[in-house]
């Protein structure tokens, strides 16, 4: 039986205080004041859709990586238009190279369509599919979308075996309803009037799809325990529920007050969030809207409590730091032409053949372990680093990404260029051996001390603006 085996999630630590953004922009758009409550998740300068996806994947899989046959990544904001993001994700997760990968995008529905497809793949015998949806949508400064958007990712492992939830059924429709669009090469969406989107879009297209699904599955609407659908337009969710006949209490909080809407990732993210509080034998209905509608109906099993292996959506939501500096949000998102100083001009192009040769180190943080003396080391090299060993060609690949580390030395540097000064870095030492002078991330001045426990995270190392190429590597963040 194909079922959902596990899930994980990720929400970036920073949460922009919406009131601060409104304060900066309501002189131009007084209507923004209605959207000034709560906070939205925002990426740190070194996070993007891909890094969010990696974290969600890790949260779902835990340290075990053997069992994944395919990685599918759904997003409309994946960093590369032509360089498979899912392959990079699979490599960063340290999966065997014999894995199927696929990017899914081009619609806010990518998250639900991709999940339906993951079930179909697994059912057809692909082996376990790690389906990841991640999003960090960019919006123009000072608009409503900037306040409504969020950032986040979810990963769902679908495969054969006794799972935590079964797919009872699904329904899809394709309707070229253009509430907004973004053409190739464009940075920002262009949208149409919200009242039309609400009335002619959500309130018409979604109920039709839900009705069809429930009929097909022969499930009474009143039997639904949890209904999740992303929608930032006020009042839509209860109205959809009412039209379909879903219990009022089944309508789940779309989390817009605490994280905003993480685009194409948001529907599966809300689904995972619902599963985190669902009991056995409950029915969860998830819908995604965009050029039609997807709807999935899942029933939890008695193993539901085992589905969350890591922090899950709730855990990452709880780990937060409020950001009250709207200027920082603009700078992190490239929405202001910032004077970053001459030090930012340094040219460090990524040599692609060098990257490829060292991809296990750079992308997956794989080092070496000496067969003779047992020393774990970064990087893996031809000669063991242990001063009492020094043997040639004795190191087996040894992954470091999931190993616990602590701070040996550190500083907070205000001279070197970084988008978020001061640059924190230092030597982190792995408990099982090995060390690395690493950039630190997700720390604030005063946070770091010798001995502090750290975990490694996959982040943007640098952005080569001239070639528009982001490079990624692993950094140390508080555990």
């Amino acid at each position: 039986m194909t079922s959902l085996l596990a899930w994980g999630g990720y929400v970036p630590r920073l949460r922009l205080n919406r009131g601060k953004a409104v304060e900066a922009n309501s002189w131009f758009s007084p209507a923004l004041r209605a959207l000034g409550r709560g906070e939205r998740a925002m990426c740190n300068w070194d996070e993007d859709t891909l890094t969010l996806a990696v974290e969600a994947g890790r949260d779902c899989l835990g340290p075990e990586r053997d069992d994944v046959a395919a990685v599918h990544l759904a997003s409309t904001t994946a960093p590369f238009a032509d360089r498979q993001n899912a392959a990079l994700l699979a490599n960063a997760l340290g999966l065997d190279e014999r894995v199927g990968t696929m990017d899914i995008g081009a619609s806010q529905r990518a998250g639900t369509s991709g999940l339906i497809n993951a079930f179909a793949s697994a059912r057809a015998g692909s082996g376990p599919v790690l389906f990841v949806a991640a999003e960090d949508r960019l919006a123009r400064a000072g608009g409503a979308a900037e306040l409504r958007n969020g950032a986040g990712a979810v990963a769902l492992l679908v495969g054969d075996g006794a799972g935590v939830a079964e797919l009872v059924g699904f329904e899809q429709s394709a309707v070229d309803f253009v509430d907004h669009f973004r053409s190739q090469g464009q940075a920002f969406d262009y949208g149409w009037e919200e009242r039309w989107v609400r009335d002619a879009g959500y309130l018409d297209i979604v109920p039709r799809t839900l009705d069809a699904l429930l009929a097909r599955c022969a499930v009474e609407p009143g039997a639904i325990d949890h209904f999740v659908m992303p929608c930032t337009l006020r009042g839509v969710l209860p109205k959809v529920a009412a039209r379909v006949g879903l219990p009022e209490a089944s309508v789940r909080d779309p989390l817009d007050a605490v994280m905003g809407e993480a685009g194409a990732a948001h529907a599966p993210l809300l689904l995972a969030h619902a599963l985190e509080s669902a009991g056995p034998g409950e029915l969860v209905l998830a819908a995604g809207f965009g050029q039609g509608c997807d709807a999935l109906l899942l029933r939890t099993t008695e193993r539901i409590a085992e589905g969350r292996r890591g922090r899950g959506i709730g855990g990452w939501l709880a780990r937060r730091r409020e950001e009250t500096n709207y200027g920082k949000f603009l700078a992190f998102n490239g929405l202001v032409e910032q004077d970053t100083g001459m030090r930012a001009e340094a040219e460090r192009p990524t040599l692609l053949s060098t990257l490829y040769r060292n991809r296990d180190l750079v992308t997956a943080l794989v080092g070496g372990k000496c067969r003779i003396c047992g020393t774990a080391q970064l990087p893996r090299s031809a000669v063991c680093v242990n001063p009492n060993c020094g043997e040639f060609h004795t190191q087996d690949p040894y992954p470091f990404a999931e190993r616990a580390a602590s701070v040996l030395t550190w500083t907070a540097d205000r001279l070197t260029y970084t988008p978020d000064p001061p640059a924190h870095y230092g030597i982190v030492q792995f408990e099982e051996g090995g060390r690395l002078m690493a950039d630190f991330t997700d720390v604030d001045p005063g946070d770091v001390e010798v001995g502090m426990r750290m975990r490694m995270v996959f982040r943007i190392k640098e952005h080569d603006a001239k070639r528009n190429l982001k490079s990624y590597f692993w950094k140390a963040a508080p555990a």
Binding site: M342, A412, D413, L415, T416, P422, M437, D439, V450
Partner: protein, 400 residues
């Protein structure tokens, strides 16, 4: 250990440009300035130089690559000229090339020169640049102050020193150097500072404030070395000779193996032990009369005093506060003002240190002259605490 080169090579002459923001002079002008003084001091014509070495590290804002810029700037007579680069220890590498050429007999007289034109970057500090293709992909985004600043966190932890005590000792390192540098006409920064000023200066890389960092300057320095008998032929009765010249280079162990604690320099301990052995020094604190250490940052100098065996481990900070390394202390350190006041034109610094030891041993150091020093040590370091090149030279009188 090898037989070594003790007393095999004499210093015939030295020269040093004025260090500072030499807006109107290019690197070639600085080299000529140092070379003319050096040549005059040596009392020879440039046609007697058999071979030359040029140290320059950051060629992008300096003379470019190869030995040619030195040959061109000084119009050397078609002799072998070699450019050397070993991070901030490049100046001593240049000296080592010349000294080894003479010691081997391949050259009778050799020139070591070093220059850096740091003030053509357009901003303060060392330039931000690539550190190698793979290194750029995986190394932390560290600057020079940031890499050395980490010594402080590890040192405090290891020796249970309170942050404010260490900060105060670091400040005293700089206060002492400024007091010395104020007396040196060739220094870049010639102002005295107070402990309070140093402690309260803006932070550069925690816990290093502005006055914990050396200056950034343009400058050049040169040495002409020869066999001691040639020096005697040229009228030096008791020439100053190289007693020891040792370099130790990190092999990745500090950066990659958990045996190093981050609070000291593995290389400095090895290079200084070898140098003491080569020079026949048994008790450095008693025998070494002066030290020119690589005080790129105050914390570097502080832990280096321990690495050189001048302070006991964990007590360097107390010795600094007790004035051991002041001009009037047991072992004056940076009597010329050090990197702190000269700034650090990379290729020149190691030679600038030797220049001060040479002047002091010659009794020509003017207002800052120490009382008859006999043995001086230079410590020239390049890189970062976890990955560096450390050179130690000991200079004294022949037979002394």
């Amino acid at each position: 250990m090898a037989r070594g080169i003790r007393d095999s090579v004499a210093i015939l002459g030295m020269g040093c440009s004025k260090f500072g923001e030499r807006w109107h002079d290019g690197p070639e002008d600085l080299l000529v300035e140092a070379f003319r003084e050096c040549l005059e001091d040596a009392g020879i014509g440039r046609d007697r130089i058999d071979a030359a070495w040029l140290a320059t590290a950051i060629e992008e804002v300096s003379v470019g690559k190869s030995g040619i810029p030195l040959a061109e700037a000084l119009r050397l007579p078609y002799i072998p000229v070699t450019r050397v680069e070993n991070f901030c220890a490049s100046g001593t590498e240049s000296f080592r090339g010349a000294v080894y050429a003479v010691a081997s007999g391949a050259a009778d007289i050799a020139l070591a020169a070093g220059v850096e034109k740091l003030k053509d970057t357009g901003y303060g500090g060392l330039p931000q640049r690539s550190r190698g293709a793979l290194n750029d992909m995986v190394w932390a985004n560290f600057s020079a102050p940031g890499s050395f600043a980490q010594l402080a966190a590890a040192y405090r932890t290891k020796h249970s020193v309170l942050p404010e005590d260490l900060k105060r000792a670091m400040a005293q390192v700089s206060v002492k150097s400024h007091a010395n540098g104020a007396k040196n006409p060739k220094a870049h920064l010639r102002n005295e500072i107070s402990i309070d000023k140093a402690v309260n200066a803006p932070m550069v890389a925690d816990p290093l404030g502005l006055f914990d960092c050396c200056g950034v300057s343009d400058g050049a320095a040169c040495a002409i070395v020869c066999r001691p008998e040639i020096a005697r032929e040229l009228g030096r009765e008791n020439p100053i000779t190289v007693k020891a010249l040792q370099v130790s280079v990190s092999n990745g162990s500090e950066a990659g193996h958990n045996s190093w604690d981050g609070s000291h320099f593995v290389t400095a301990r090895i290079a200084s032990r070898r140098a003491y052995e080569e020079a026949g020094v048994r008790d450095p604190r008693a025998e070494v009369d002066m030290v020119e250490a690589h005080d790129c940052f105050s914390i570097t100098e502080l832990v280096t005093m321990e690495d050189l065996g001048l302070s006991r481990e964990g007590e360097g900070w107390r010795d600094v506060l007790d004035g051991v390394y002041d001009a009037e202390g047991d072992t004056p350190c940076q009597i010329d003002g050090g990197l702190k006041c000269f700034g650090h034109p990379i290729g020149a610094s190691g030679l600038r240190m030797l220049y001060e030891v040479y002047l002091q041993l010659e009794g020509r150091a003017g207002e800052r002259q120490l009382d008859t020093p006999r043995l001086g040590l230079t410590h020239n370091l390049g890189g970062a605490p976890h990955r560096n090149v450390c050179s130690v030279a000991i200079v004294g009188r022949e037979g002394g």
